[in-house]
Amino acid sequence: MKSRILSFNILMETMKKQIWVPVLIFLGFFLSMPIAGMVYLEIIQTNGRAEADIILDYTRFLAGTGMSLVTMMTLGGAVLTGVNSFSWLHSRVKTDFYHSLPIRREKLFVNQVFLGIAYYVVPYLVNLLLAYVVGMVHGIFRGSMVRLSLQTFCYHLLFYLMIYLVVVLAMLLTGKILLGCLGSVVLCFYGPVLDLLLQGMATSFFDTYITNDFFFSKILYGLSPIIAYFTYMPNNSWSIPGKVWGVGILAVAALAVLCFFLYKRRASEAAGRSMAFPGLGRLIQYLMEVLVILGSGMLFYSITEHASLGWMVFGIVLGGALSHGIMEVIYEGDIRRVMAHTWMMGASIVTALLVIGSFYGDIFGYDAFFPKQEELKTLRIQSSEKNYGGREEEAAYNQEKIASMEKLAQDPQVYEMLQEVVQNRLQSIQSSDGWVHRDQNGEKVEQIHGVEVEYGLNGGRTANRVYYVDYSQFEQRLLALYDSPDYKKIIYPLTTMAEADLEKRIQSVQVTSIMGNISQLFAGSNEARVDFLKTFRGELMQMDQKTVTEEVPIGCLDLTINYENGEMTWDEARVIGDTPYYIYPSFTKTLAMLKTQNVELPETFQPEAIKSITLYDFQGDEEEEKKITDRAKIEELLPCLISDGCNNGLISTYDYELRAEILLEEKGYNREVVCVIRRDRMPDMSDF
């Protein structure tokens, strides 16, 4: 093979002198695939599992997703080949040798990158083939394994290329091997670390901030190929979104072009210098210094008890001096030049101050944001405790849910309530007691409640905010939302699922008795399960504020979502599956259907099984504790008990703060259950 760019002979000669790299990678894959596969099959086949499950497990094994050996090989291989491919650029002797040869630099680059890819692809595919043979020998090989494992191979390859090219980029930008390795770490993690710092600042300085709300968070995270590799990895679903492929391929192409361009521009004399491109080197120094200063400022701000601004300034100055000194020593290679280019340190400190100042003073009006009703297209409101730790993924919105969100946005009463919520939101202040919430008059509020709002604006942009309010002030108006069918459609994804999807997408239903410590699968046929779900969601839609205020949930449904057929994304499945679906005593049809399946949901504990109830009251300055063993008093308390963590839309047990530890004796065994008690339903403690 002889082309203008690739030359088989040159490839072979180059590979001969780097032979340890492909050998090492081959060995790694050999241990990770056929050998580990044999061991894995030995383990799972002796457990008496169904053949279908074994095939599925082995297919997953071959896919090598999650924190698997294949993933580790991909990461390690990319770093190893990346460093190996271009580390010679850091040695003057080697650079002179290669650049004196009669070969154009682009040819040298392309041949080296080609080998870098081949070192991964060939060992991977050969060992995958061997792993198929292992599957055949064990009689579990199926054609679908090939399709799925090759699909995930493409995913691994995409991110291998991305990480490999980032390491190559670091090698090209630097002139010393150690700096090249450090540069790889910086390029791989700068974005996520910056995002973490910005989010930390938002959490510290904004009262209404919700995790991951910044539009640039995804971009900053995406700047790290390693984070992106794990984020988009098809852990539980075979489907990889088209945009991941699109963005991934574009990123690889852009990195390849950038590396190619930089390699052509890189002077041979850069070998041995700290940075190969002095101008770029100063830019990288500036960006690094700003990051360290931000981190140092926030570290000193947060470790002190009272979130002191003075300590923050100290952290900024210290971070500036340290980071600048270290970078200068690295760049200049001379400890005496530790304070050279002080203008750079000044610029970095000023930049960091501007960033922190913009958060501290909220100069972009993050907390003050509240759109006019005519600007609103959709609205979603829910309890912050129900939140999954971030924004609800757009993938979880179907047309019916969006329609309900649009109706909610147009409801003047809801908008008016929201306006009041915004006006009366509490301020978070760090004190010696930790974070406390204070109202407009500066009074400390104990019974706080987070109202999480997603504003869908006319332009297509969404904004998420959480407002902490005095629950007693807004309880009735928030609970009134349960009278709105649209509100329920928004917070219960089950209610907006198409009937066909109930059978196709919901794989199983688990029913848990809150008081009875029983959890079992709904054992009926598919049709019976669909009928049951339709009945349940019918009663869910009938539920109103009276139900949630006067009744206590007695059971809960956990839905297992089938997303492996690729019809649903992981995020969508997560939102549907993680939403708690409570069964109230008034859900008579649901309870009757469960009874036909021999599932009983007791409304409370059997009084005779309770040995004691210990009450803890955390409100007030001192914790109060009382142990109750008297049978009459126990029976009086029973109707008030709610299982701990029972969280239903805008109601959360965390609002009540009265804890009850119940010691039960069942069938000769002791068991302890933790419940909470609504303060307004609690009999006078002095009676106990």
């Binding site: 002979n9 040159i10 002797v93 002179d96 040798f97 004196s100 040869l101 002077a267």
Partner: protein, 300 residues
């Protein structure tokens, strides 16, 4: 022919080569001499396309060198610190170079290896410094290129091997189109082998001439002129580079042919007059002194 016109190269704040113009004709053995840091290695690295000049042009047979595959196929560069693959053997190196130099003469390579007593399968890392230099020279010769750029190649070679390598160069010059460019501090070695010499100083070229011409136009004279006025007149008439007195003995290094200088001295009725031939080393010292690089300043 290698031609550089107004070539400059700067490393950060250091001007390594400054507006250097030079011609190396085909078939001649060209020696590059110069003070430490004069820019000899930088010039060679630019001539073989490792470095790109900041200013000026470098052409080999009328073609630019940098990133020009076909031109570079006619140039082989032997670095002062040559690179050999880790665990590589002479055979491995030959295989590798063969991919890039299409005229690589494998037969000649093995023949020369044998002549120099180097084993083709022995790991290069076990070679002595001198053996590595020999191997580099053998690879350079076997590559069969028109131009061979040698940076301090003779350093580290014992006298026998030095003669052997010189002989190898001489054979090549006799047998084919071959132009070695040799940079060295060892001026005596260059004197034996070079026809033309380029004298580099502080990044610029002081002179580039045929060594014999250089010797013909620079002479050292020892004489005794009895009259002080005539001695003064003599020094004014000659293009004096260096002048010393030892008692009444006048020692002058001056430009000009032997006959021109002799004629001038004879007119001053000397009591004694002798012309001593200059070695390349003396020419080098004299010329660099003119350029402000005086040996006496370096002796503490």
């Amino acid at each position: 022919m290698i031609q550089t016109i107004g070539v400059s190269k700067k490393f950060d704040d250091v001007q390594a080569v400054s507006s250097l113009s030079l011609e190396i004709r085909q078939g001649e053995v060209f020696g590059l001499v110069g003070t430490n840091g004069a820019g000899k290695s930088t010039l060679l690295r630019m001539l073989c396309g490792i470095l790109k000049q900041d200013e000026g042009s470098i052409t080999v047979d009328g073609q630019p060198v940098f990133e020009n595959e076909s031109t570079k196929r006619e140039i082989f560069y032997i670095s002062d610190d040559s690179y050999f693959f880790a665990n590589g053997t002479p055979k491995d190196m030959q295989h590798y170079y063969q991919q890039f130099y299409p005229k690589f003469d494998t037969g000649r390579f093995y023949q020369l290896l044998e002549r120099f007593g180097l084993k083709k399968d022995r790991k290069v890392r076990t070679f002595s410094k001198g053996m590595k230099k020999q191997l580099s020279a053998i690879l350079g010769i076997s590559a069969n290129t028109k131009y061979l750029l040698c940076d301090e190649t003779f350093d580290g070679l014992d006298p026998v091997m030095r003669q052997a390598v010189k002989g190898m160069f001489a054979t090549e010059i006799m047998e084919r189109e071959f132009t070695p460019v040799i940079a060295s501090h060892n001026l005596r070695e260059l004197e034996d082998v070079c026809e033309n010499v380029g004298l580099l100083h502080k990044g610029g070229i002081l002179l580039s001439e045929n060594l014999e011409d250089m010797k013909l136009h620079l002479h050292k004279v020892q004489c005794v002129i009895p009259e002080e006025g005539q001695e003064k007149q003599l020094l004014e008439e000659l293009e004096v580079i260096r002048c010393d007195h030892q008692g009444s003995l006048l020692m002058v290094t001056a430009r000009g042919t032997r006959s021109e200088i002799l004629k001038c001295i004879q007119e001053k009725n000397p009591l004694f007059c002798e012309i001593i031939p200059l070695t390349l080393e003396e020419i080098f010292i004299s010329e660099t002194e003119v350029a402000g690089y005086e040996v006496k300043d370096l002796i503490f």
